[in-house]
């Protein structure tokens, strides 16, 4: 019954979405007064999808094997948390989660969206309903999560052990919230293009959504990178895997949007460009979903090869993107350009930021899709990997990191002061960093060397917006920007340090043997068997010493029974200046074990930087929302605060 209730809720929600769309047409064409009705429908639609999702969680929690999806992706002996996480660790369940977030976001837009004109809001709600409708159809006709099996099998097939990890259980929800949060920006842009009301009010209404989605995407990408780092046991933090790129592309577009939206909010300029970015950002979310969910890629995350689903998703993607761009082509040209600005101005800086981010986005997009395109056209198989992305996007990212230090110092509209004078100290920091690397490590590669130099410069330059005034009186949004930009410097330093200073040791050892890696001496003390709820394991005990530091690590190889798989569980120990990373391999005939050891100086700064970037976004979001609440109370001083935005 529970599965049927979930299915019924989905059907009802899709009916309401259709109704919501029709009401939008009535409102725009005839000026019908349907605002109240549309708001309620959007809320009920969101609630119904939540009900459907809750039903799915219940059948997974109860291990109801008569539901095909549970049978295929769960088993009765699995730990409870992975039974729940199993609900979205598969194709149908994750698509249901996608739609649920989409509809709930629509409901929140209906309740909270009072900052644009009523007309634009209704058009946006209509657009959101059309988006939801397509994905409802996809679920109901091509990916029903509630399909039954008869007779019910006794136990399920289990969840891929690689996915049985707490980090991964909560990784997809975070990313999906980010992906789908961008749908609101998309719908607001479509709504504003329909009504022609592209102005700073719209930008201010859109901004919290973009910020929120961007924060979650940043967190999701950072967490996903750390997951790949410790779970795969290869010592790398980013593999340029298409699934990783699928999350990076919306992030790049959202980052560009986040910056251009400030121009629209503060100065009323870059209208067409910002609308275009809002459309592109959510299109990239859909491209990402298509790549991961259609089975067109084969990677850790992409499971089902099912041409019907792939075609359905591709058709949805094509229709929505084409319709949005057609609307943009029709209405974009008639938008009035906003306030003028001079060549040396904050606006120009943000345009350059946007152009570089767009170029990087284009490079990642081409590199990700080119192999698929070639295979579809000629049948030839090829892969585009890290060398391409690093060589092409890496230098651009470094250029962008240099400009990040300059942009925030320039005034809106026009800048007559000598801005570069302020950058003396940061520039000296950078030169010092460069000099130190040249003296101490003359053999270092060029990219890590530049990375260290630019990180040192940017660490200084990023905090300049807080100097020269009382930092405690600076708006929270400024603090957010400073923290996020400082986070870029931190992450960049971590990446450069990891690339330049990592020591690796790959060798065999018998119990009692000692291996050295970087400053560490690692002794293999013992190898013992172990067991968990649904796995058995071989566990090594390593004793690592460095001066007075003595630590014990326990890397494992785990053997899962359903489905039969082995996974390697690395053991990692974090110190203030880096991580010791250990992996155990196989035993040879003589009783010696393969060990792979890394010492990675300052590698943790990569994720610390990512967390800082997200924190900066969160500060800015709190600052903006605070200001909205404040403005409701005293609207007459609005212009003063906006000037400092």
């Amino acid at each position: 019954m529970i599965a049927e209730a979930g299915l019924a809720a989905l059907w009802l929600a899709s009916g309401l979405a259709a109704l919501q769309f029709l009401l939008m047409i009535a409102a725009l064409r005839r000026g019908a007064d349907v605002a109240g009705a549309m708001r309620s429908i959007a809320v009920v639609q969101g609630a119904l999808t939540l009900v459907a999702f809750a039903m799915l969680l219940i059948v997974f929690a109860r291990s109801d094997m008569s539901v095909a999806l549970v049978f295929e992706n769960s088993s009765a002996v699995k730990p409870f948390i992975y039974k729940i996480a199993g609900a979205w660790g598969n194709h149908e369940g994750s698509m249901l989660m996608w739609v649920t977030i989409l509809a709930v976001a629509g409901g929140f837009l209906a309740v909270l969206g009072r900052r644009t004109s009523e007309h634009t809001l209704l058009a946006a709600l209509g657009a959101q309903a059309v988006l939801a409708l397509g994905f409802y159809a996809f679920l109901l006709f091509a990916s029903n999560p509630f399909a039954r099996l008869f007779p019910a099998p006794p136990d399920g097939q289990g969840l891929n052990p690689l996915l049985q990890d707490p980090g991964l259980a909560f990784h997809p929800p975070t990313l999906y919230l980010g992906y789908v949060g961008l749908s609101v920006a998309f719908s607001l842009a479509v709504g504003a293009l329909l009504t022609g009301e592209v102005d700073s009010r719209l930008a201010r209404a859109m901004r919290p959504w973009v910020l929120g989605a961007w924060i979650l995407l940043t967190l999701g990408i950072t967490a996903g990178s750390y997951w790949a780092y410790y779970e795969l046991g290869w010592g790398g933090y980013w593999f340029w895997d298409p699934v990783e790129n699928a999350s990076l592309m919306p992030w790049l577009a959202a980052t560009a949007l986040l910056h251009s939206i400030n121009v629209l909010a503060a100065r009323g300029a870059l209208k067409a460009w910002t609308m275009m970015l809002a459309v592109i950002a959510f299109s990239m979310s859909m491209v990402g979903t298509f790549l991961v969910r259609s089975g067109i890629l084969t990677s850790v995350h992409a499971f089902a090869i099912d041409p019907e689903r792939g075609t359905f998703l591709l058709a949805l993607l094509g229709i929505y993107v084409a319709a949005a761009f057609a609307l943009f082509a029709l209405r974009g040209a008639s938008l009035k350009e906003g306030a003028p600005f001079e060549l040396v101005s904050r606006e120009t800086g943000l345009v350059i930021n946007n152009l570089i981010l767009s170029v990087v986005l284009g490079i990642v997009f081409v590199g990700t899709l080119y192999p698929l395109f070639v295979e579809a056209v000629s049948g030839e198989k090829l892969s585009v990997g890290a060398p391409y992305f690093n060589a092409v996007a890496g230098p651009l990212a470094l250029v962008l990191a240099v400009l990040v230090g300059v942009g925030p110092l320039i005034a809106w509209r026009r800048e007559r002061r000598p801005v570069f004078k302020q950058l003396t100290i940061p520039a000296l920091l950078g030169v010092t960093g460069l000099a130190i690397t040249i003296i101490l490590w003359p053999q270092m590669h060029i990219l890590p060397r530049l990375g260290i130099m630019i990180a040192a410069y940017l660490a200084g330059a990023s905090i300049l917006p807080l100097t020269g005034r009382n930092p405690l009186r600076a708006p929270l949004a400024t603090w957010g920007m400073v923290v996020a930009h400082f986070g870029i410097a931190v992450a960049l330093f971590g990446m450069a340090s990891n690339a330049a200073f990592t020591s690796e040791r790959l060798a065999i050892a018998k119990p009692g043997d000692v291996l050295s890696v970087g400053p560490w001496l690692v002794a293999l003390a013992d190898v013992t068997p172990g067991a968990g709820k649904n796995w058995t394991a071989v566990e090594a005990e390593l004793r690592a010493t460095r001066g007075d530091d003595i630590v014990t690590l326990h890397p494992e190889t785990r053997y899962f029974s359903d489905p039969p798989t082995e996974t390697s569980e690395s053991a990692i120990r974090t110190f203030w200046n880096g991580q010791l990373y250990t992996v155990i391999g196989k035993e040879d005939q003589s009783g010696a074990w393969q060990l792979r050891l890394w010492w990675k100086p300052f590698v943790t700064l990569i994720w610390a930087g990512g967390a800082l970037i997200a924190l900066g976004g969160a500060l800015a979001l709190v600052g903006r929302l605070w200001r909205i609440a404040w403005r409701r109370r005293s609207p007459e001083t609005e212009w003063r605060r906006e000037r400092y935005a």
Partner: protein
């Protein structure tokens, strides 16, 4: 700037960025793409020494040899028609064994394939995408790379 010029400059900037992205991507793709070959392709001389590539096939029965350092293996990948010797230094993936499929990433050096990474058939249900066409036992059901 006048609003009209401003729009012109913006559009020009966007077009220039688009061109830059495409040109950079094409330049990168020409130098950095790695092709997928089978041992038969290599026997036919399609692959060049030193070029980054992926090589896919089945690990020949009885071909895995462990070198004395304990972490280097030599084995032979075959597609039924031709054979290519492979050398790999590292921890082989969990389900890398004789008689099952594997994809090696690396370069050819004088007839031997020097692998940086090995991707193996992961379990009964998951396997590297390129092996789909090579093994008859594999149903195109579910795949998992690496």
């Amino acid at each position: 700037m006048k609003p009209k010029n401003q729009r012109l400059v913006l559009v020009a900037g966007a077009v220039a960025a688009l061109f830059a992205a495409v040109l950079l991507a094409m330049w990168g793709l020409r130098n950095q793409v790695s092709y997928f070959y089978t041992p038969a392709d290599i026997a036919a001389g399609k692959a060049h020494d030193g070029e980054a590539m992926r090589l896919g096939g089945m690990v020949a029965q009885g071909s895995i040899r462990h070198l004395p350092d304990g972490v280097t293996i030599r084995f032979i990948l075959t597609d039924g028609k031709s054979q290519t010797p492979v050398v790999f230094r590292g921890i082989a993936p969990d389900l890398f064994r004789e008689g099952s499929g594997a994809v090696a990433e690396g370069r050819l050096q004088q007839g031997t394939f020097v692998a940086d990474t090995i991707l193996a058939k992961h379990d009964e249900r998951y396997m590297p995408p390129e092996l789909g066409n090579l093994s008859a036992e594999h149903k195109a059901g579910k795949t998992l790379e690496r």
